[in-house]
Amino acid sequence: MKERWDDGLLVAYVDGELDDATARAVEAWVAADPDSGATLRRLHDSAGMLRAACGGPIHDPCPEIMLLLEQPAVTAMAAAAPPADAPPPSPWRRPAVIAAVLAALALGTFSGAVWGGAVALPVVEGCR
């Protein structure tokens, strides 16, 4: 059974939580360890299943909530002090890189691709 810390690092990688240097280290690690590669795929697939099952848009109106939110006191509060939140990030923050890693794992092309601790990835443009 794998160490929990390892799985945590892999899920952090899948979710785009790691800095570039750590992400490269994870890619080298999964390239050298088939078990970690399989775990990475399970973590990736599980997130994809969830998005497919629960990620659909909500279109139907909900008048009760809108009535609450459009009360004059509420709109005045929102206008006076809007929250400083940034727009939500994409649920999938490193799609091209992760897809490339998983594809390389599936094809076995990682063997020999590790050089000097880094992994040559087929697709890295547009990420981060």
Partner: protein, 150 residues
């Protein structure tokens, strides 16, 4: 909606309702949860952040213990595989269920998930790893046990 004043909550509403449906399994109880969460948010100051608003929805859901398994099955309709995923999600502990939806569906960072559910970031990361692997196992074998009570 043009011409109406928009609040942060109004803009966030579709995501809050989707999150609540993922938790509760059906539209009507989910909207009741979001309505109550909005009421609670409007009594707090300063204005509620996105992460805390999701946290409020999760807290109301836990308070009301709403879980409509039959509605989940019906909502899946002909999409059998999606129904399997939703049923597997319902077998996970409340905290893991919330984290999975927040991170994988709503796109919150681990730090935002931690803020939402008032957990250390390390706990969020470890729980997400455990929950995703368990979910995958449950989808592959629906008769498997998640290994922890909700």
């Amino acid at each position: 909606m043009a011409g109406r004043p928009h609040s942060h909550l109004t803009l966030l509403l579709p995501r809050l309702r989707r999150f609540a449906r993922g938790l509760a399994g059906a539209a009507a109880p989910a909207d009741a949860i979001v309505l109550e969460a909005c009421r609670r948010a409007l009594t707090t100051a300063p204005p509620t952040t996105t992460a805390r608003m999701f946290g409020l929805v999760h807290a109301v859901w836990r308070d009301t213990a709403t879980d409509t398994g039959e509605a989940v099955d019906a909502a899946a309709g002909p999409h059998f595989a999606l129904g399997v995923v939703r049923r597997a999600l319902r077998l996970l502990p409340a905290e893991q269920r919330g984290l999975l939806l927040l991170a994988s569906v709503e796109g919150l960072s681990h730090r935002e998930c931690a803020e939402a559910l008032d957990l250390p970031v390390g706990t969020v990361t470890a729980s997400l790893a455990r929950a995703r692997l368990t979910l995958g196992r449950l989808v592959e074998d629906p008769h498997d046990e998640p290994g922890a009570a909700p």
